[in-house]
């Protein structure tokens, strides 16, 4: 089997991740922040080190403001609904995943409206004309999960800062192959999953909140302390981390970060770029292939007018895992004029090779002459 669906979740995971999860689950898995016994305290210390790993990876100096979630979708909901709490106007891009779009749509009933900027233009050109007196936030993805197209997050940050706007970023498709310097970003929240580029297990993600933000909880429940308080406690992260954390997945994510950092984050990025460049060079030789976009480890294409799901099924029958369809990002497909057909998305990881890329394209070439 050849796995080319790393934008959905990375696979396989590094052995060190699996070993760390197995060891934690077998020997250390007390419930962190609930009890006072040795195992619970040890688990709490392990999870704090995981917060430090995330913070260090993005050059952020406050690990206690790293809030764990089960995935990026939850992190984005936590950030969007926790920070956008009054009627206002928000700006988002035309390439958003439903994990940004749906929460924004749901906030319409609370008086929040949004405008959409063209992600293909530089943010300092496309965003300012949309800013209104009641605009409070920019919420958008750093990299499209459909075609890998990237928005310059530092330019986004500059626009947000110059206009006094909050910035909520979806880093789902960026982390793991690109170094981020959060100290250079004027942000409100950075959201990401642990199971894609960071090579952890499904079940972990995070939202990092800046010093200036006090997110309102979107979930209430057990916090492990201050139990007599009828509301959630005041301290982050427990204020918005109700319930038991998915500690094994968090441990896996921390180990995945360590793995990527040992490889060299930018080195991983160069590897993915090489795979993308090789792919697009091959695709360009096939007349029936329509390239939709390429970048950040992602290559999206269609074959003539064949439904993308049909092509994905064909590849699956030959042991190659890709994703067809709308990728939970109908807005992006509308922008790319692929709403009817969807797209075949090939997404690479550090474990994919040029030989594997050869195989998929030989198959496509033979099948769709």
């Amino acid at each position: 089997m050849i796995y080319f669906d790393n934008s959905a979740t990375s696979f396989p995971k590094p052995r060190s991740v699996l070993r760390a999860v197995s060891k934690y689950t077998a020997r250390l898995a007390g419930n962190a922040g609930r009890s006072g016994h040795t195992l619970s305290i040890k688990s709490a210390e392990i999870l704090y080190r995981a917060r430090e790993s995330v913070a260090r990876h993005i050059l952020f100096d406050k690990p206690e403001r790293v809030v764990f979630t089960q995935n990026a979708t939850y992190a984005l909901n936590m950030a969007i609904k926790g920070l956008i709490t009054e009627p206002c106007h928000v700006i988002t891009s035309n390439m958003e995943h439903n994990s940004v779009l749906r929460p924004l749509i749901s906030l319409k009933e609370k008086g929040v409206s949004f405008s959409v900027f063209d992600a293909s233009l530089s943010p300092d050109i496309s965003i300012p004309p949309l800013i209104r007196p009641d605009t409070k936030f920019i919420v958008c993805t750093a990299v499209s999960n459909v075609n890998g197209a990237e928005i310059d997050i530092y330019k986004l940050s500059k626009v947000a800062m110059e206009n006094g706007l909050g910035l909520i970023l979806d880093l789902s498709q960026l982390l793991g192959h690109r170094e981020i310097d959060a100290s250079r970003l004027h942000f409100s929240a950075l959201c990401a999953p642990g199971h894609k580029g960071l090579m952890g297990l499904m079940g972990a993600g995070f939202a990092v909140f800046s010093d200036t933000c006090s997110p309102t909880p979107i979930l209430e429940g057990g916090s492990g302390y201050d139990s007599l308080n009828e509301g959630m406690p005041s301290q982050l992260p427990e204020r918005i981390e109700a319930g038991t954390l998915s500690a094994p997945a968090i441990v896996g994510m921390a180990k995945g970060i360590e793995y990527i950092e040992k490889c060299g984050t930018e080195c991983v990025g160069r590897h993915l770029a090489a795979l993308c460049n090789y792919s697009t060079a091959l695709l360009s030789k096939m007349p029936k292939i329509k390239l939709i976009g390429s970048g950040n480890g992602i290559v999206a294409f269609n074959v003539a007018d064949i439904p993308s799901a049909t092509v994905a099924d064909f590849l699956d029958k030959h042991g190659i895992c890709v994703r067809g369809g709308l990728h939970c990002a109908p807005m992006a497909h509308k922008t790319l004029n692929t709403l009817e057909q969807g797209a075949v998305r090939v997404s690479y990881s550090v474990f994919n090779t040029l030989d594997e890329v050869d195989k998929i394209y030989r198959l496509l070439k033979n099948e769709y002459k």
Binding site: I41, E45, Y48, R51, Y225, D226, L228, Q235
Partner: protein, 73 residues
């Protein structure tokens, strides 16, 4: 050995506080205080002789604490 305890709130801040104290040469044990009147809190148990130094270090780090009076032994 006489010890004293400081409460800091949630377990995350408690682990952070322990780490900061350790980096500054003060050994602390992370413990959970359960009170039916005040609710549960996490804090640190340290040598009584190092209490004021610990408090100074935590203040410098911006970590709020309170003295857990019942635990001075």
């Amino acid at each position: 050995m006489k010890t004293a305890s400081l409460t800091v709130g949630g377990v995350t801040v408690a682990v952070k506080a322990k780490s900061i104290l350790a980096n500054n040469g003060v050994r602390a044990k992370l413990i959970k205080f359960s009170s039916m009147k005040k609710g549960c809190n996490y804090g640190l148990n340290i040598k009584e002789s190092e209490l004021y130094e610990a408090a100074r270090i935590l203040r410098s780090a911006g970590i709020e604490y309170s003295l857990h009076k019942d635990d001075v032994t």
